[in-house]
């Protein structure tokens, strides 16, 4: 233990020394007179006061955008979900829009943990509430799944620009934020009091409400099409029972199993997903700013 402590102490000293050295070097560079200063261009004459961007293609303003594509959940414990998803937006201005994101859980894929439990978990009195009997359904059938999602949302796109790929290909882009409320169809093990019966491992679907937010990047062609990469978080703060286990409900603080599966066994989860979409915007041609 002492050795462990001294190692940590030594490590902290090294970190502190490295940080102090880095800080000192940075200050030294900052304090050094600059022989080569960046050339800031001060606009004078007829360009003074002119807008920073002219003739900007307004890919959003007044346009309806439909984007479709797959969505993949991240950091799943028992089931990964692939959504067949889409998004419909109407952009009030070039930086503000409203819309709805929706997805259907087209596929639920077992994680390695789910398969491992199904194969190796002992079937005995200690696990009878949590693991189906050997001649019953698979463990995967009781695990929680995301069935669908509908999320009305607001889209805020303050960052608009372009990128050069290999200094050859130029693409209009924007970076946007979105936020709203997600109505999520959650399929999880149904409530039971006699939870060792084979029928007690069936699931039921309910709708959970979660805040949803994230950010995305859109790459525009000159007209109709765009490509979209979007990150979305939808933390189910009220929790959901992803394993189908009885883990809570008894004991002084309710943190021990009570041989019943119910809402006490739900735990919060910071659900996340990535959406890759192909977008279609109407009218097909964007307007151009003055």
């Amino acid at each position: 233990m002492k050795q462990h402590f001294s190692f940590r102490e030594t490590t902290m000293k090294r970190i502190a020394f490295a940080a102090a050295t880095a800080l000192g070097v940075s200050i030294a560079f900052a304090a050094k007179p600059r022989s080569a200063a960046a050339q800031e261009i001060q606009l004078t004459g007829p360009l003074a006061g002119a807008p920073s961007v002219r003739n900007l293609r307004l890919h959003r303003e007044g346009r309806v955008e439909l984007a479709i594509g797959p969505g993949f959940t991240l950091l799943d414990e028992y089931q990964r979900t692939i959504f067949a998803s889409g998004r419909l937006n109407y952009n009030l201005t070039d930086w503000l829009g409203i819309g709805v994101f929706g997805g259907y859980g087209a596929a639920s894929l077992n994680t390695d943990l789910t398969d491992r439990i199904d194969v190796t978990a002992p079937r005995n009195s200690r696990t009878a509430t949590n693991i189906p009997p050997a001649n019953g359904p698979s463990f995967a059938s009781q695990t929680g799944k995301l069935k669908f999602m509908a999320a009305p949302q607001v889209i805020f796109s303050p960052f608009r620009g372009k990128l050069a790929l290999f200094q050859k290909l130029f693409v209009d882009t924007d970076l946007y934020l979105h936020g709203g409320a997600a109505f999520v169809g959650v399929d999880e093990r149904k409530d039971c009091t006699a939870c060792t019966d084979a029928s007690a491992f069936d699931t039921q679907t309910r709708i959970a409400i979660a805040p949803t937010f994230g950010l995305g990047l859109t790459l525009y062609t000159r007209g109709l099409l765009s490509v979209n990469l979007e990150y979305r978080a939808f933390p189910l703060l009220g929790g959901w029972n992803r394993s189908g286990y009885d883990t809570r409900g008894a004991g002084p603080d309710g943190s021990f199993p009570d041989n019943q599966v119910n809402e006490d066994d739900r735990t919060g989860k910071f659900n996340q997903m990535v959406f890759i979409g192909l977008g279609f915007s109407l009218p097909a041609s964007p307007t151009v700013s003055p």
Binding site: G161, Y245, D246
Partner: protein, 337 residues
Amino acid sequence: MKQARFWLLSAAAMLLPHAAFAQPRRPGEKAPALAQPATPPPPPPTSVPTDLGDIDSPAPAAGASSAGAAAAAGSTGSASSGSGDRVGGICDVDPSACAGTAPVGALRDRDVKADIYAVQQIYALRRGRFELMPYWSFSLNDQFVGHPGPGFGLNYYLTDVLAVGINGTFHQPFNTDLDFNFQNRRASRVAVPLNEYQAVATANFTYVPIYGKFSTFREFIFHYDGYVVGGVGVLRSRPIPVIDPDNRTFDWNSNVTMTAGLGLRVFINRWFAVTAELRDYIYVEQVENTRIAPTASQQRDPSAFKWIDEKPLTNNVQAQIGISVFLPFGWDYRLPK
């Protein structure tokens, strides 16, 4: 009074031709001839030096000899003495106007590449600069153990798009065994082997194929770039004893790791940027044996019964959020805009 009016008119008449020199030349009008040196230089590949000569240099008489030109140059001041690099004009009147620019003679004589680049005067040049990159890292694909930690990267840009560098992340005190593992073990009696990281260090190449800019509300302009990174290094890890924690302890292992990733860098100014990077560290992990020896003596002896079982290829995907500081802070552009 009449004499005064006469002298004023005479002075105005003498100044008129000089004022006309500043007017733009009409198409087809012949430029005033410059002084010709004894050995004429190669013809200028672009019009830039000629234009500079027109504006900055006095226009001597056509056909003047080189000696005459030298004498004329010498009479204008010290800036043009001897070397012939400067030809006088505005640089003599106001030297600060020419600060930071190469001498006109050097500009005239050099080779100029006639290429026109798609992106000129990139906002933040990288060639020859160091990049210091402190960041905070957290894992994206391990739902059992969190592996956050601080890190630091150092890159040197050989060109504007290619850099070599090193980076390291320190994980040891920040590994988090999540409550989910305990709940799963208690409910299913299945233990998942867990691993924790001490640190990872890699040597990298960075390539920057994407460069762009964003306008914010069409007012403020941010420049950004996208890059890919790849390299090789060492990741130190060890199993967390969860199968037989009473008997097993594990030392740190050094694992060779390959790394690949991509990142986004948003410049706040020409030397300071915010970065976000996604890295995959690929290595062979050592995993605790899920079986336990039948006897107590065997359980305590790793040579009698292996504590390490599988050695799977593992992907450690990390997101890294940080800042970049470029040194030196500034530079001079090679070509005018």
